[in-house]
């Protein structure tokens, strides 16, 4: 079943990030996808995440599709103007890619080519409108297209953003334009997520909650300091600190994630894993959480 059908049927869905290689060799990326495929319904392929150069998202999406798995094309507004974005979307559709997650994209100065021109010809809200236009058989300029796309469009939000209100308002606008799913930034505090859900009034879109397994207390502290909008509560950091061996750390991390998954499960329709190299934790978390 496709992602959109699963969500429409009320199924609890698992998605997982897959990063294209920094280079020409897609072997390891595909190997990771194959290993996870029995536990994951769809793979989000990142689009030059953190503005670091990698292989293009649509290419790995197409390869994942060829293996018989379902990709979600992540598309940022950072690198392509309206012509290039539409061209890539039409190409992605022809390659069998149906799902798109629309993102603003980090600023290039944060990545490994800080000299690059930041494009942002469109923003994420406008890109959603452009995809809806392609779905209706027209391009942004209103020209008729030969054949239409039928993309399933998703948006991102940070449920623990502070202050939350501007982000909520932006999400409401995206929902008005037509989105089929939401994938969230990582959540470590289930209570904060529940508070966010209660404020969502009017936005009725299936939501997948972001999970990142912690590798260490140091990683947690680093994220708290350097990643906008990520907050790992002190109790969780303490648990990670008490773990002494690598095996113990992995075990604690899996338990922490499983506990968060269980806590948010009644308030969402799926989990979105961003394993950052710890792909092998994902099946354990899914199992321990009892999904």
């Amino acid at each position: 079943m496709r992602l959109r059908e699963r969500l429409a049927h009320g199924e609890f869905v698992i998605t997982c990030e897959a990063a294209p290689p920094k280079g020409a060799d897609v072997g390891p990326a595909l190997e990771a996808v194959r290993k996870l495929a029995p536990k994951v319904h769809a793979f989000n392929v990142t689009d030059l995440q953190s503005s670091v150069l990698r292989m293009s998202s649509w290419a790995l999406c197409a390869l994942i599709k060829r293996e018989g798995f379902e990709p979600i094309l992540q598309m940022t507004c950072r690198d392509r103007n309206r012509l290039a974005l539409q061209a890539d979307l039409l190409g992605a559709w022809a390659l069998g890619i149906e799902n798109v997650l629309v993102l603003t994209g980090d600023h290039p100065v944060l990545g490994d080519h800080p000299q690059a021109m930041p494009v942002f010809d469109l923003d994420s809200v406008q890109l959603i409108a452009v995809i809806q236009a392609l779905n209706s058989g027209r391009d942004l300029a209103g020209n008729e297209l030969s054949g239409r796309t039928d993309f399933f469009v998703g948006a991102a939000v940070n449920p623990t953003a502070e202050p939350l209100e501007p982000h909520l308002a932006k999400l409401r606008l995206k929902a008005k334009l037509g989105i089929g799913f939401i994938q969230t930034q990582v959540v470590y505090d289930p209570q904060a997520f529940v508070r966010f859900v209660q404020k969502l009034d009017g936005v009725r879109v299936p939501m997948l909650v972001g999970i990142i397994p912690l590798k260490s207390a140091k990683m947690a502290r680093f994220m708290n300091e350097h990643i906008a909008g990520v907050h790992v509560p002190e109790e969780i950091i303490k648990v990670m600190e008490r773990a002494k061996t690598p095996e113990e750390r992995r075990q604690r991390s899996v338990e922490i994630c499983a506990r968060i998954v269980r806590a948010v499960r009644p308030y969402c329709q799926g989990i979105h894993f961003m394993p950052m190299g710890w792909e092998d934790c994902v099946p354990d978390i899914v199992e321990l959480a009892g999904i």
Partner: protein, 225 residues
Amino acid sequence: MLVSELKPIGEILGSLRPGERVFVVACGGCAQTTGAGGEKAIQTLKSAVLEGEHPVVGALEIPFLCNKALIGLKLSRVRTTVDKAEVFVVASCGVGVQAVATVTGKPTVPASNTLYYGAFQGVWPAEERCARCGECVLAETGGICPLTVCPKGLLHGPCGGSYQGECELEPGRPCGWQKIYDRLAELGRLDLFEKFRPPKDRRRALDVPLSRRRTTLWDLEFWEE
């Protein structure tokens, strides 16, 4: 010298709410020189605004609208009419519109689109405040320019990198869209925050068309170069 041109009257009136009391301000500096400011603009705008059935409570030409201190001084002399006004309609470059919005703290509608600048750049640093996009949106963003205050020039609210009012670009830099949100909240106009804006016409920001290069201003400032 910032070159601006008056917006279509319909667009200006579209930014006003029914029956809103209007104060018209026009720049007597660059905008007047390029034909989009001064007494001429005041007359055009006054009659248009009246025709749109909005009462005009006051009108004032200020020599340089990019000079915040000067705006404060001039407006304080007509305090009572300023207090009566519900919205300011401003004929000047984007810098002047933002200066009026900041000084008055009231909703401010740009009457012009800012196209590009020449030699003299005004008192309030222009390049930090107006990117000469040619499609001024200040009426919808609380008089704060999203193209210059947000390094991505987004038109619909903050990106995911905005946290506790700070921009992802560098520590200590305020998130422009948080500022716009806060200003719209103060003005009671958060409805504008959730309004869809179509993609910008980037041609307006890119180049100076031949027709413009044939103006007196162009001759005076650029010919020898």
